[in-house]
């Protein structure tokens, strides 16, 4: 949580810092954009049409929430709508935290923060807050956001068109690709004992409840693990 402090006390502007920020933004942006293809293909496999898939990437623009929505719809169909909406929304809460972290860095008029809000995701926040100067932080955020917004939407369309052509999902192992995609979003967050314990417990709770609850609800029930552990700070580091 050092980002807001950095924003208020940036080190004197080093001339090379914005250039470094642009390179970081392009590297991260292009790598992340590539997996829009898997989202597009999996969304169509989950029963969405190409338009619906593209609207999700244009409007929701948050990988975790988008994968969650189509994941629940894939197993429960439109009847699982409330659970799908709840899963996507709960996964979107972290973006609100990122917004709070980026708010003092972005500054400026309301319309600039409105656009910044739409582009506030894991990657733009990570690249932005990692830069040493205020100017480089802004450059890093905006370039990463722009590259991923354009790239993610183009690759989503490409993936949706390809997925539409592919047809049978299981024959090509696309159902396993969906599971691997969630694991890939989870992996970088398993940085200490507490998140690992929460991940294992949540996976077990969800799997055990599958035969007993409507599709989508086991995932929501597993969220309770995070709330209990988060409030009690079990297995966590002491607050400094």
């Amino acid at each position: 949580m050092t980002a807001p402090n950095r924003a208020q006390h940036p080190v004197p502007d080093a001339p090379s810092a914005p250039g470094t920020a642009v390179r970081a933004a392009l590297g991260v942006g292009l790598a992340v954009s590539a997996y829009g293809i898997s989202f597009g293909a999996l969304a169509v496999a989950a029963g969405l049409d190409i338009w619906q898939t593209c609207v999700l990437s244009l409007l929701m623009f948050s990988g975790g929430s988008q994968f969650a929505l189509i994941g629940v719809l894939a197993t429960g169909g439109a009847a699982a709508g409330p659970a799908a909406i709840a899963s996507a929304t709960l996964l979107g809460i972290r973006n609100g935290l990122y917004s709070m972290r980026m708010s003092p860095i972005i500054g400026g008029p309301w319309w600039r923060r409105l656009l910044a809000g739409h582009w506030t995701i894991d990657e733009s926040t990570a690249v932005g807050t990692a830069q040493p100067t205020l100017r480089a932080q802004r450059v890093g955020f905006w370039v990463t956001g722009a590259v991923i917004y354009v790239g993610w939407n183009l690759t989503t369309l490409l993936g949706a068109v390809l997925g539409d052509l592919v047809g049978d999902v299981r024959m090509y192992g696309l159902d396993a690709a969906a599971a691997a995609a969630f694991l890939g979003l989870l992996w970088p967050r398993l940085t200490s004992r507490q998140p690992v314990a929460v991940a294992v417990a949540a996976a077990v709770v969800a799997a055990v409840l599958v035969p007993w609850l409507q599709p989508g609800l086991p995932v929501l029930a597993a969220a309770a693990v995070a709330i209990v552990v988060g409030i009690t700070n079990a297995l966590g580091r002491r607050a400094i």
Partner: protein
């Protein structure tokens, strides 16, 4: 509720959460519990989705070709192989296991 309703409601909710962060004072971040709960919520939901996507079929738990695929994916992520390559490898693994008829 049609699929379009679901898409629009969820998209507006996710977008609203992003915008709310720019409207509240940053001091909320200084309290550790809300930040910790939000981070762990992400972990729990992604882990639960990984489990259900690997094991669920028509409202039941089944062990099929997705299981070896997710084990392969975990190994590749641990080796820091890029996301898109791991996803492709997992799909190929499941397809291969099915073609050979080892698992459904």
């Amino acid at each position: 509720m049609t699929v379009w309703h679901i898409i629009l409601i969820a998209s507006i909710a996710v977008l609203a959460l992003k915008l709310i962060g720019y409207a509240v004072p940053p001091s909320v971040l200084e309290r550790p519990t809300p930040a910790r709960v939000a981070n762990l919520l992400t972990v729990a939901l992604l882990a639960a989705l990984t489990a259900t996507q690997t094991l669920e079929r028509s409202g039941d738990i089944v062990l099929d070709a997705r299981v070896p695929a997710i084990v392969l994916a975990a190994v590749l992520f641990a080796l820091r192989v890029p996301f898109i390559l791991v996803v492709i490898a997992a799909a190929a693994c499941a397809a291969f296991v099915r073609v050979l008829g080892w698992m459904p």
